[in-house]
Amino acid sequence: MGFLDPRNLLWGVSLAVLVAIYLRSRARPTIDVSSLMLFDEVPAPSASMRQVRFDLLFWLEAAALCALTLAIAGFFVRIPERPAHGRSHALVFALGAGMTATESGSSRLDRAKRQALDIIADAHPDDQFSIITYALEANLAQAPTSDAKELRAAIGKLNAIAVATRPAALRAALMRARGAAEIDLFADRPPPGEALGDIATAGKFVFHQVAADEANLAIVSLDPGVPRASKMRVGIRNFGAHPQLCDLKIYLDEKDAAAQTLMLAPREQVTAPYDPLPAGGIVHAHIASPDAIAADNDRYVLATAAVPLHALVVSPDPAVRDDLARVLLAVNPNFRIEAVDPASYHAASNDSDHFALAIVHDSDAAVHADSTLLVFPPAGASKLIPGLTIDGTASGAELHGATQSGGNGLPIGATRILAMPEWMEVTSSATLPGKGRTPVAAIGQGENGSVGVIAFDVRDRMLLDPDHLDALVGTVDLIKRLVTPANVQIVATGTYVNLPASGPAKITSPDGSVQTVTPDKSGRIVLRPLMAGRYKVDNGKSSVQVFANYYDAIESDTAVTQVTSAKSPQRELASIPAPPREPQIQPMLIVLALMAMLALLAESAMLARRAGRWGMRHV
């Protein structure tokens, strides 16, 4: 028991007033009688009666005052939670890649499903269950129902995907489940305390950790190098607590390129170098050794062709031309780069040469290339990309990149305010002062080839400035994607892929399943690969291969997370599969108010009775 607001106990001082009134009333009233001879046999009060005369009215008033004071002070009691019928349960499942970790033929998700089914079987038939999943986002897999058959079917349909679970998705899932009387979370690792909020302390949250120390190997990185020039490198990591043999195979355009067996120490990460590839193409690294998570055993990368590529850099600033040329060579040393001033380009070049890539900085020069990247485009450049709108220039912005943490972005200089067409994929954004978030980098497949846009200015050696690493990374990624053949895309799982399509397209997933999708009004289909591997999109006229890579250092770590801090709520969650229910706080406001009301009613009845018998003078 306790008080919600103990300060209001000061109202109890009113009891002192009542006691004072009572003591005053105890000063026995004097009444005149005609003669004492009529009362000489009337018993006199005893001594004890004089001290503790029982005055029912006083005690009723005292009880009413006490009850009201306790009610105002928020008196409550803690009562054990009573098993009730018709309770609502929320079963929350993590569906990240970690839940696919398999041991002895059973995945973590399978174990979670079995535990959930046991909970449903043990529950009262009137209890309602809802099923919520989370990975990239939170989804309601099953609305609240008490139909066990429906619930079993919904649980059976759950499948983990090859992505890392996002903390925001967990928070969203718990937010959806907040209304339930009991929340059961099935995940392979304890949720962060900040994601739980007050749910963990509300006594209705149960964490079911479905994890075991399975051995897992993952391809961390795959650098194809430069064919016939630089070595290919493969990064491999052992997440297990024991040494692991890694049978690594390398394929180039689905042909064996290399094979090696490595021994990795516990939790060791190695980078294996290989001879330069003989030619460009799709490089596929594969770990053939069986392990817990299969999604991180394959990785695809595109090795650029060994043939020279002709690139054009147009910028009025010589320093920018120099910087962009350096970046291009860093991406692919086979580039033959022509850097020109916009004025001289118009005067001398025309379109006699064919360019694989053209980068146009702060110019509206009309270039002809397989791929075009506009950097800090002026207003006149909007004609180069259909649907692109340039609304002016902001003097500064904050770029939100991968290396930035928290809500602060990377300060960048002058930035064009762009409105991207629908068919372009925004790859980066920035915050403009007073105007909110705006896209600053986008890529799309136009009618004349791939087109990319970078809104911020790269003058003043921005791309080579270590403090503006995000600007460089974004630029390099965009260039890489622009020089990638149009029929090949290599993306991370969970990202959206926009593909042009003139009609219904057939998508073949890595597991062999096929689905047909219809393009939207912009003539595009959107693919979101949730499995690692190759997707094939065929619309009858052309075929596009989308290679989805998965790797996440946290998600792929199959070691059971042990919370070290005893004070952390995570330890309690992890070590106690089903903690005892916290006693419920039961406010006594209504009970106390009823008691006060009853006391006052009883007092009123007594006073009315007394008035009827002795007159109002004695009330």
Partner: protein
């Protein structure tokens, strides 16, 4: 106050048919010391007697002497007026409990009896007695004989205030000192005095050849002990003596028993000395008392 009730026309109409029951003497010749008619001047023929020397010749019956040749004197019965005194106890005890209006009831009873007494044109007066500051205070109205003068009692009844002690013996002493002719004395009191004092006072009234009637007056709360329950300090209205008492059902029963004992004691005294006793308990019973109870008790017929 209840005494005003005794002067309301509606109430008085109920009393018109009542007569005060007085044991009147038939004759003084029989040597009886009775109150009542005596031979003398009058208009109603009573008897004849032989003429003797000294008789008034105006009453000589000439017709009878002519027929009988014997002088006969006619004798008449003369109506003799009786003095009726309604003596009301005005001590402090008659004022308690206030809600009972015991004094008002006593004055109403006394005035009502006076009104009834006026039916025979008897001389009636109303008196109140109590001891104030150690002195017996007996206040009476002049005698009134006719009902037209009944309202003269109203001012007196309204002016009487309860206070002082009850000294019934002293009041009787003062009354007898007036040396009035024998008559009727109606004592209206709560008789919250010692039995010896009450008996002594009543005996002396009887010894003075007064026909004594007693009306025992008590309040409703007083006679039932229906005081509000609780712990009280009670104070004697006359002596000021105090004590503590717990009122409740048990105390009420004790009070009722004490009142019964008092009634029996006064009733026994009255019976022993040939005094008519009546009781009027409760102001609300005035009408019932005057119409029903008094006739049954023989006071009014």
């Amino acid at each position: 106050m209840l005494e005003t009730r005794a002067f309301e026309p509606e109430y008085l109409r109920k009393l018109d048919r009542l007569v005060l029951g007085i044991k009147r003497a038939r004759s003084v010749r029989q040597g009886e010391r009775r109150i009542g008619r005596v031979q003398g001047l009058g208009i109603e023929l009573e008897n004849f007697k032989e003429y003797t020397e000294g008789d008034d010749l105006r009453f000589l019956d000439w017709n009878a002497m002519a027929r009988l040749d014997q002088p006969l004197i006619r004798t008449f019965r003369a109506e003799r007026q009786i003095e009726i005194t309604a003596l009301v106890d005005a001590s402090a005890s008659m004022g308690m409990p206030t809600s009972d209006d015991k004094l008002g009831l006593g004055l109403a009873v006394g005035a009502s009896l006076a009104y009834i007494g006026m039916a025979d044109n008897d001389a009636v007066r109303l008196g109140a007695f109590s001891v104030r500051r150690g002195q017996m205070c007996l206040e009476t109205t002049p005698f009134h004989r006719r009902r037209e003068s009944y309202l003269n009692f109203k001012d007196f009844a309204g002016a009487v205030q309860a206070g002082g002690e009850t000294r019934l013996g002293a009041a009787v002493d003062q009354l007898l000192l007036e040396r009035r002719p024998r008559g009727v004395v109606v004592v209206v009191s709560d008789f919250l005095v010692s039995a010896a004092e009450a008996e002594d006072a009543l005996k002396r009234l009887v010894a003075a050849n007064h026909e004594v009637k007693v009306v025992h007056v008590m309040g409703e709360i007083e006679s039932t002990g229906a005081y509000p329950p609780g712990l009280y300090r009670i104070r004697d209205a006359e002596s000021g003596e105090m004590r503590e008492a717990v009122f409740g059902p048990e105390a009420a029963a004790v009070c009722r028993r004490k009142v019964e004992q008092l009634v029996e004691r006064i009733r026994a005294i009255c019976a022993a000395i040939g005094v008519v006793y009546a009781q009027a308990f409760g102001a609300s019973t005035l009408d019932n008392f005057m119409e029903r109870e008094l006739p049954l008790l023989g006071i009014v017929r």
